[in-house]
Symmetry: C2
Subunit: 562 residues, 2 copies
């Protein structure tokens, strides 16, 4: 539970990822035709936990939950928005980064999960630019330090005020003995293409870099005096807006509050049940298929809005995963089950495919892509259970492919007159949902081999029984009723008995075969090193830099290089 990190300031016992602009305390959205401005004006007293103040536009998870929500809403609620401006509402400071007192007081698990979520939010900003035509410009009016500059790095363009004092900085190493771990080190090298020795100088220069040198070293795109700032931003905005393929004249849909009943041992959504079996250290998630056929037209999909089944389920699943990550640290495994009619599920994939050029259908596929990536990056054992009555087909089959293992029942059970379980692939499994490493889960599964991928492709639309699915390599084990209960019980018990950390490391390695991309490097190389450093006394020990920051006492370091 979140309680381990002290008391949530709002008195709740769980961190909630649902919010809406009316409740924002730190961000303001204003929209002027095709341009949205997101203004960061952090409420110092609005920390997620008690015990620290969010000075100088520094942030904690609560600030980032609002940012993530704002970007989601811009995509769905405002298809007209082509450019997002990230700005500060405070004079002479853009953002001081993650709040240091929060970090110093947070548990290791919270630090890791906080960084993961902020990374996912930054990636979502880049995803909107790459796939949704929604570009971002960051306007830096003062200090942009640490996570503040890392937020800027997620934008397409960075404009820095050239006033002799505004700087960009990644002072984590000299100041705090940790890394710029929210993508910073990776993005300066792999996205901004800053030369590695310049990056070395930059990341060890506490006071940061300003003006012309920041441009020469590619840390920002432009440094302009205050007098020319608005003109420059307007010109860049116009240019980016002209290149966008966001739709014209389309109204958005409202991301209405999730239908969600929170209970002590789970949560009930419209299309998803979550049951915490805390004794067994697992959560059972049952994904439900649609209760109606897809609409006949895209316009009807828009009219359904947030109630449209694929979108509703994606949002619910996302919320459930985040809830488990942050609030149920003791659960070792997530067991995915499903219930419904596979044909009905596939009909929605067909609908989304037919309407693939419609902005909302595109957004929904991209939303599923992000949710599935969030699942890939969730440090719990992921298990898919495929039984009679399940509907793992197309998009839902992707959850099976995201799992560390899958078990499928052969045939039927006594006293159960439902037909045997099936698994069905659709086009969705071959193209729609690349992982962070830019491979589809099927390509990663059959790494370097074309034959099994071709064989799987030929089955599109055909319900596969357990033996066929196992033979095609789509499930781990096809088991008959005699072995079923024991095999799965023993596996889950055994899994819960292993070291939680070793499993995290194991799964993080096995899930991502093949090449790495900038995004996957952030989670693999950068995050893994940061997690290591988040364990080291030089950072988090009593005399470490994170703990001593702001006390006037210098940190004491173990000088051994490891």
């Amino acid at each position: 539970m979140a309680a381990q990190d002290g008391k949530l300031a709002n008195g709740a016992d769980r961190i909630d990822f649902q919010t809406d602009p009316a409740r924002y305390r730190h961000w303001k959205i204003t929209i002027d035709r095709v341009v949205a401005t997101l203004t960061l004006d952090v409420d110092e007293k609005g920390g997620l936990f008690s015990g620290y103040e969010l000075k100088l536009n520094s942030y904690d998870l609560g600030v980032d939950i609002e940012l993530a929500d704002a970007f989601e809403r811009l995509r769905f609620e405002h298809p007209e928005v082509r450019v997002v401006l990230l700005r500060s509402g405070k004079p002479r400071v853009f953002c001081a980064g993650a709040n240091i007192r929060m970090l110093a007081g947070a548990s290791h698990a919270h630090k890791v999960n906080f960084c993961k979520f902020t990374n996912e939010t930054r990636n979502a900003i880049e995803d909107a630019s790459a796939h949704s035509g929604q570009r971002t410009i960051c306007v830096i009016n003062g200090t942009a330090a640490g996570g503040g500059y890392e937020l800027a790095l997620a934008a397409d363009q960075i404009v820095l005020v050239d006033d002799g004092s505004a700087t960009v900085a990644l002072p984590e190493v000299p100041l705090l003995a940790v890394l710029p771990g929210t993508g910073g080190l990776t993005r300066i090298i792999d996205k901004r293409l800053v030369r590695r020795d310049h990056a070395d100088v930059f990341c060890t220069t506490e006071e940061g870099i300003k003006g012309r040198r920041a441009v020469e070293w590619r840390l920002v795109d432009e440094a302009v005096p205050n007098s020319k700032l608005e003109d420059s931003v307007a010109a860049r905005t116009k240019e980016l807006a002209a290149k966008s393929d966001r739709p014209k004249g389309e109204a958005g849909i409202a991301l209405t509050p999730l239908q969600r009943r929170v209970e002590p041992n789970g949560r009930e959504y419209q299309y998803l049940s979550v049951a915490f079996a805390r004794d067994e250290r697992l959560a059972r998630l049952t994904l439900r298929g649609p209760d109606a056929a897809p609409p006949a037209t895209a316009a009807e999909m828009v009219a359904q809005g947030a109630k449209f089944w694929p979108l509703a389920l994606a949002r619910e699943l996302d919320d459930a995963i985040l809830d488990i990550r942050l609030n149920e640290l003791d659960l070792a495994a997530i067991v995915f089950e499903s219930a419904g009619d596979s044909a009905a599920v596939l009909a929605y994939d067909v609908f989304l495919d037919l309407n693939r050029d419609h902005w909302l259908a595109r957004e929904i596929r991209l939303k599923w892509k992000r949710v599935l990536k969030r699942i890939d990056l969730t440090s719990r054992t992921l298990v898919a259970i495929i039984e009679p009555g399940s509907c793992f087909a197309g998009t839902l089959a992707e959850v099976v492919l995201a799992s560390d293992r899958s078990y499928m029942l052969v045939g039927t059970r006594e006293a159960d007159n439902r037909p045997p379980a099936t698994l069905t692939l659709s086009e969705a499994n071959f193209d729609w949902y690349p992982m962070a490493n830019d491979l589809t889960r099927l390509t990663a599964r059959f790494l370097g081999a074309e034959a099994p991928l071709d064989a799987a492709y030929k089955t599109i639309g055909t319900p596969l029984d357990a033996e066929a699915a196992e033979k095609l390599g789509l499930v781990t084990f096809a088991l008959d009723d005699i072995d079923w209960e024991d095999e799965i019980r023993i596996f889950l018990e055994e899994r819960a008995s292993f070291s939680a950390d070793a499993l995290t490391g194991l799964e993080a390695n096995l899930r991502f075969g093949g090449p790495e991309t900038m995004e996957s490097k952030i989670f693999a190389r950068l995050t893994a090193w940061q997690n290591w450093i988040f364990q080291r006394p030089n950072a988090v020990g009593e005399d470490g830099a994170l703990r001593r920051y702001g006390t006037g006492q210098k940190p004491v370091f173990d000088t051994k290089r490891v």
Copy 2:
């Protein structure tokens, strides 16, 4: 110093990486025409440190130092060898992996450095196969567990005895709460192309997998009964030998002992001086150019053998880097300097290029490639200092490009009548020495930009002064005599004041821009996670699995998933 890990069994106060077959305690080399057999028969009493016994062919760093030496010697001393057989000298056990009591008692720094060296040794085996025509077959006669199986994974082919009991296993997660971190997780996925869910089952199955399933899951290439084992190995050997491009009828050269004088504050090699300035927490390495022109013919190079300047310096540099890594943990930086005649250095690059098809010239370039990679992976700040009298040209310029920062003096100094410092590129800098990520250091330096690479290429052979080198982006700072001393002193002092761990993480991220390969993934993703786990109480705490292994007491885990 090594002493932190207990007493070295041989009574020395430093770990020495130099050995030769006459001194091996754990490996036996036998050569039969084109086939070398390396037999692992670990001397239980031959541990590097006192306090543990190397039972069941388990290994420590000392065993691996011999293995690394053996492979080096096969390349240089036995160009006729086309296939290396890795075998066990003990019945029913191939290798039990890294010794657990050694791991349990080792400092974090030693564990990390031990794993790094073993990884480099495995990579060198693969490098011999990919670039030297020297293939490896691993013959598993019994249990190959953990690091034992990881050694097998470095081979081109794995033959497992099918006797109902011989198994391959990666039991680290269930048994020890650590990862198969010597390439294991990466190689099963990215090299052997084991399906990720099969890999999940395999890595959580303590007892391992044998026979047919091991073949079906691609864990081994063949499982054969004892009666057919030798025939099968012979057939595979013959097949691989036929494909090799190793030379015929060429005699090898002897890797004679390094000329090395070890002193309390440094070591003096023939072409390399190492000075430890422990107060400043740095080592100064001065690389010396050749004292004679290159020989006229390849035959003369062979006659010079280990005295041939490029080979001698490469071996000396390798030894010095390893010494610093393992024995001088408190040094924050390695400062590279050079002394000699750039034209003479370049003449050797030209010689190696002209003779590029000669087996020994090829081996020497490959040796430099490995040494430079070892530098890239050394977790100390790397600094190049380019002053009058230096000879950073061609292959030696690569050391500058490997450095985190480089400083070059503009012009001359008072009372120094040597000409200004120059830096000169050769073909070597554009092709010969790819990093672990398969990019040359120049390509990584100018990531995504062709113009600066082209501009640099046009300067091949031209000595560049400081301003020219800075303008071309080849050095970080060109400084004149007025700023020189202070700038460098302040930089080195500042560097030494930062957290050692944060610097390790910073440098590991900035040095490797661009794509990842299997090799770089091993160090980035796998090693970084392993290092994290090597800090976690579930593994290394009093009640952790590593510490409790073999005590009969079960480990106690913090069950929180992070």
